[in-house]
Point group: C2
């Protein structure tokens, strides 16, 4: 899919079909993630790809804003080593995965990680060392319905030429 | 360009041809930026698109890690209102612009904004209210050479199945 189409089609999708996601596609998603820009060439990211139904159910319980993870085909937990720009790097990787998912026709929803009280419990469940920072939990699946993209702010509203 | 190709081709490009970037392409970049995901549907972003040579030169002087902005065809300054997830939202918009730029054959380099001592001076130059947070300065231009993508960490190294 064309890059602008994928960027435009990306939307939060929280309802999925009961169809699993092939391993090759999951690898493509993480491959997109690891190609993100990284400050000082650190590449601080790690990606935990969860497809086990029991673990997905537990993630949906732990992450209170991501209860729909329980029905997802997969959840990718994006982690970073704590560096000065860990959040920038981890979010860039997160966004790469989301755009690539849209390009493959997958639905996805970004569930917040950083600054959330449940990060410790998620790390414990996934066996991630406590010093790693959880950036995001990406719930993924084949969308039940056509995703709806809602944006209120127009290009004219957000774009400023030369000065604010 | 296909979305995975654009993600793969994106690399830091700091040397540009003396050719300007058409207005329609700059609008497409910001249009990609504003389509990023945003926590709680706030859409806190503003994009200042600088093409004036004098301002580009000043930006290159102020941002010590982005001296090459002086020779860029354009610099997009990504700002966000200060919300709980301003950095996540602003970085997602930043990454959308970078991927879209790669998709158009443009070269780009992400110069850090958040946490940098020069943010105040940049905001003053661009007439941005001091309460707005500078996320990134995106230096853009037609690449002088073929961009080189260097990634040391392989897919196998960063991808973990089910557990870390």
């Amino acid at each position: 899919m064309d890059v602008f189409d994928a960027i435009s089609k990306r939307a939060s999708v929280r309802e999925y079909k009961e169809k699993s996601i092939e391993k090759a596609l999951l690898e493509k998603l993480v491959d997109a993630g690891r190609r993100a820009p990284t400050a000082r060439a650190v590449e601080p990211w790690e990606f935990v790809v969860v497809t086990d139904r029991g673990t997905l159910k537990k993630l949906g319980q732990i992450a209170n804003t991501g209860s729909f993870i329980k029905d997802a085909g997969c959840c990718i937990a994006v982690y970073c080593k704590e560096t000065k720009y860990y959040l920038e790097d981890g979010v860039a990787a997160t966004e790469n995965i989301l755009i690539q998912a849209a390009g493959l026709g997958l639905g996805a929803c970004w569930v917040a990680g950083d600054k959330k009280p449940y990060t410790e419990e998620v790390s414990l469940l996934l066996g991630v060392p406590p010093e790693m920072k959880l950036i995001s939990l990406l719930s993924l699946g084949w969308p039940k319905d056509e995703p709806m993209q809602k944006k209120n702010r127009s290009l004219k509203d957000v774009m400023h030429w030369e000065k604010f």
